[in-house]
Symmetry: C2
Amino acid sequence: MEMKKIMNRADDFVRDTMEGIAAAYGDKVTLLDGDHRVLVTGYPVAEKKVGIVTAGGSGHLPLFLGYVGEGMLDGCAVGEVFASPSAEKMTDMIRACDRGAGVLCLYGNYNGDRFNFAMACEEAEFDDIETRQVIARDDVASSPAENADKRRGVAGIVYAYKIAGAAAAQLKSLEEVGDLAERALANTRSMGVALSPCIVPKVGSPTFTIPADQIEIGMGIHGEAGIEVRPMMTADEIAEVILDAITTDMPLSTGDEVSVMVNGLGATPLEEQFIVYRAVHRRLADAGVSVVMPHIGEFATSMEMAGLSITVLKLDAELKELLLAPARTPFYTNLNK
Amino acid sequence: MEMKKIMNRADDFVRDTMEGIAAAYGDKVTLLDGDHRVLVTGYPVAEKKVGIVTAGGSGHLPLFLGYVGEGMLDGCAVGEVFASPSAEKMTDMIRACDRGAGVLCLYGNYNGDRFNFAMACEEAEFDDIETRQVIARDDVASSPAENADKRRGVAGIVYAYKIAGAAAAQLKSLEEVGDLAERALANTRSMGVALSPCIVPKVGSPTFTIPADQIEIGMGIHGEAGIEVRPMMTADEIAEVILDAITTDMPLSTGDEVSVMVNGLGATPLEEQFIVYRAVHRRLADAGVSVVMPHIGEFATSMEMAGLSITVLKLDAELKELLLAPARTPFYTNLNK
């Protein structure tokens, strides 16, 4: 099926999105110097707070832009749909988000983002801005455990934003904030399933297909191939397959506390996400594992892709306190959770 | 294209969804007596606060269940996907949500819901519970102005929940809360466009089709036929057509303040919703109309339908104050807006 995009010119997709966000929430987040690729917080920021920034391709809202606000990110640079922003934009953002305590660059394990952030951090050093890079690699399907450093970052990075953002709000040092982000990511695993492709605006048609009666296990948020294609499964089976993969990689024991994110990839109804959460919750409860502040909804999407991912964040006392600390952005709050 | 549902048995779709919600948010909202069709608030409720309840078919999350919480709804009954719950469930809910000041039943203009709420309110009278019914009819596409009482309720009802919920939180009387809900709805207009159908779980295939290069203007949230089918339009054109229809029915003048909701119907990416919001914001600004607390996202969906609706709520000083008053539910908060 040909799918239709609600847009003007495909070339203006990202600019128009950014202008829409600025028009809606200009009192909370702003385009840096009017730039259509960099969003910075408009909430008050304490002097000497470590800045936290991210970057990535467009097409994943609320990731990445949606976490700029209070208690999470100070800035976000985006590129075209599914493409990294330039090192120059990243440098501008790092400069804007430094309050004298350095800047944590927290982003997913994609070559373009890595390459450009490395250049941007070198550039920032010329201005005597201290930086640290922490890279999310939570997708267990993207590489086996022995090559875990090759894994992609997916929805689990939202937990890292939350933990690092809360640590920065407590005016911890760049080293402490970076260490906590690393610890959150070391305790975070994700895996997804896809039922249908998505459409990049400038392409205009699906870039791959999934047969009508099948489901792809472990697909990435840009349509990167998964582990296997299977006949369509029930919600309970999907929860089982994903939780098995996650807990094989990161064992859980009776008495453990975790947060769980069931993340819709775009077209999957919220009802179906709750049907999967029900199964996840039951399986964890049966294993004596309790869930703190579950996140169910769309946190990291792939345009109109159907499917979902599950993320488990294993908590310790400090990570739990930082998870529960207040945060708000135009797209996210934990004040109602 | 055959679309796939992430579920277990189709017959258990609503039960499994409700169990998922209760598992995730059991400390905030609870199943009434374990009933899989009635959700009531678990937040503290003041004595003598007017209760506010709603009901409707499943398949529209976060509508209707998602607005049960604090500062909005006290209870919600749901039926099967796209079907009204029974009068008996509504009666149970009304009883549970009465704190001695009566209960406002605030729901959309659908025959099943009207018929069952009328019976439920009669039943509640036997228990000396005062009730009032206020019915949302915000969809301008569903009937011409001379038959406005035949119009369907769509996403605009969320604004009525917000206004009535804030009034009830101020311990206003049932008459006052009902009058404010009526006033909010008198000032609310919506219209939607659809690009693709959705799938009712027990049916398993799309119940209608929209050609690949076309868009249906004015389609209802259950797939009710719209005003016309046109060749696919740009985001700017969609904003223009909908705003023209809304402002023909409810004229706006320079200096007016409104809230605007751009509501994704399910499969439409958030990026595309912001591209439409950009156009709406510009057109209103050009007319000297300013926007207060815009809502962009999924507030009332039709499963995996692609498309969106636009709602305009014309504010006066009192409606604005009630809109801005704090509210939180597991699915909604205005604390970050």
